[in-house]
């Protein structure tokens, strides 16, 4: 007994030490944002026009991006979850590729595809649309980097819907569209909500693709992360204040994900877990 107890104690100590190290390392930088400047200083720094406009641009672009992602991503994820066809696995991998592509690469890719000198640049300009240097370009960058987070989670959520429910719905005469809208979406709602929160979080933090593809102009394309970088050199307190806001929003989004996926073992964190 004594020997066994001592062995557990030794290993337990290692485990505890590792966890303590993780905790300190992961929480200290976040805590330091709030410790470096007091709440009063943070609030007054937030009054700067650049910080406020950046928060507005972030709110606007992430909301529109999320709407686009939900509108197109939900049926796309439903197809991936409910159909099996040749090349499905390859297709899923392709759709997930932006998850692992560095943001700067995403920005270069978007420019090469949709920029004025890009593959589709002529066609886009011919249609009288412009994406580079305008708010719409930020939305394009955000949709590109954030949608895989939603697609993954939504696909997992639809796959977890009890097939007897949808089968029953079909047996009772409901068409597939009606079954999708009335049965599958409500049943998968918590998972879809968690996916939306993850995608929103990713969009909110987007930096590299936006900078390279859309540029950075106050009130137009300068999102909160871009403003933090711009302010870092000139107004460190304002950069801290904006960072604090983003930490608070990110924490709220993470809490939402946790709440929505609580007690849903198989789908919990499906958007984050490696496959």
């Amino acid at each position: 007994m004594r020997g066994r107890g001592r062995r557990v104690g030794w290993f337990g100590l290692v485990l505890g030490l590792a966890l303590a190290l993780c905790l300190v390392f992961l929480t200290l930088p976040i805590a330091a944002i709030f410790l470096e400047a007091g709440p009063a200083e943070l609030l007054s720094s937030l009054g700067s026009a650049q910080a406020l406009e950046a928060l507005w641009v972030s709110l606007l672009t992430t909301t529109i991006a999320l709407a686009v992602i939900l509108l197109v991503g939900t049926p796309a994820a439903y197809l991936l979850a409910t159909r099996s066809f040749r090349g499905r696995a390859a297709l899923v991998t392709l759709v997930e590729l932006p998850l692992v592509v560095p943001p700067a690469v995403a920005g270069i890719g978007l420019l090469a595809a949709f920029g004025p000198a890009g593959l589709l640049g002529g066609a886009i300009e011919g249609a009288g649309v412009r994406l580079v240097f305008v708010t719409a370009g930020v939305v394009v960058a955000l949709v590109f980097v954030a949608s895989p987070f939603y697609l993954r989670q939504a696909q997992a959520a639809f796959e977890a819907v009890d097939p007897t429910w949808t089968a029953a719905s079909r047996t009772l005469g409901a068409g597939e569209a009606r079954t999708f809208a009335r049965i599958a979406i409500p049943a998968a709602a918590p998972g879809l909500g968690a996916g939306a929160a993850l995608a929103w979080g990713r969009a909110l933090g987007e930096f590299g693709a936006t900078l390279i593809f859309a540029g950075s102009l106050q009130g137009v394309t300068q999102t909160a992360p871009l403003a933090i970088v711009a302010l870092f050199g000139t107004d460190f307190d304002a950069a801290l204040a904006l960072s604090a806001v983003l930490v608070a929003v990110a924490a709220a989004l993470l809490a939402t994900v946790k709440l929505l996926t609580r007690g849903r073992g198989p789908t919990e964190g499906a958007g984050l877990a490696p496959r």
Partner: protein, 245 residues
Amino acid sequence: MGNYVVACFAALALAGCGSGGDAAPLTVSAAASLTDAFEAYGKALPGEQRFSFGGSDALAAQIRQGAEPDVYAAANTAYPEQLAAAGLVEEPVVFARNQLVIAAPPGSEIGSLADLAAPGLDLVVCAAGVPCGDYTRELLDRLPAAERQAILANVRSEEADVKGVVGKIAEGAADAGFVYSSDAAAAAGRVEAVALPARLEPTVAYGAAVVAGAAEPAAAEEFVAGLLDGPGAEALAAAGFLPPP
């Protein structure tokens, strides 16, 4: 076992120091516009260097936040002087000058400042606070108000350093921007430089200083001295910089 863990961390810490040579590499925080010149200069030096290129303002902010490179070289003289006044760097020296120019894609029809005021043009500039951005605003402030406002209305993006401006133009995303003549020369073939009227040109001077508490003070001093006279000055001249005033 406590000793074992300590040994583990010591090993980790050492691993972070790199493969280890005779002397630690010299760390140099330098303005993005110095990229080519300093990399060429580094090859002419016996020791090893680690360069961190970026906006002079961001690099100064890192030093104010406690970063300790051995050398700080900025695209203006104000930032090194401010850091010296705060005791963070030694007495700075002015080691080069540069010229602000208009950069445009090859074959562009832009031939003068007045062309930049044409409605609908897409301009990219450095952000305020970044030296190239401050020089750009200094230049624009010398223009008649109407022309200045017309040009500013065409600004589509404010970049964190001059290489961001060059990239946007070279990539075909923007029609023109303000960069240093050395950057335009470095990107020859991808961008074209249009000179500015001499009476409007801002004075662009570069300051460098040894950082207080530098890990390699002797090598740092040697590096800064070589910028004034020696391989550094030669590399700067070859990259299109002008000698200090």
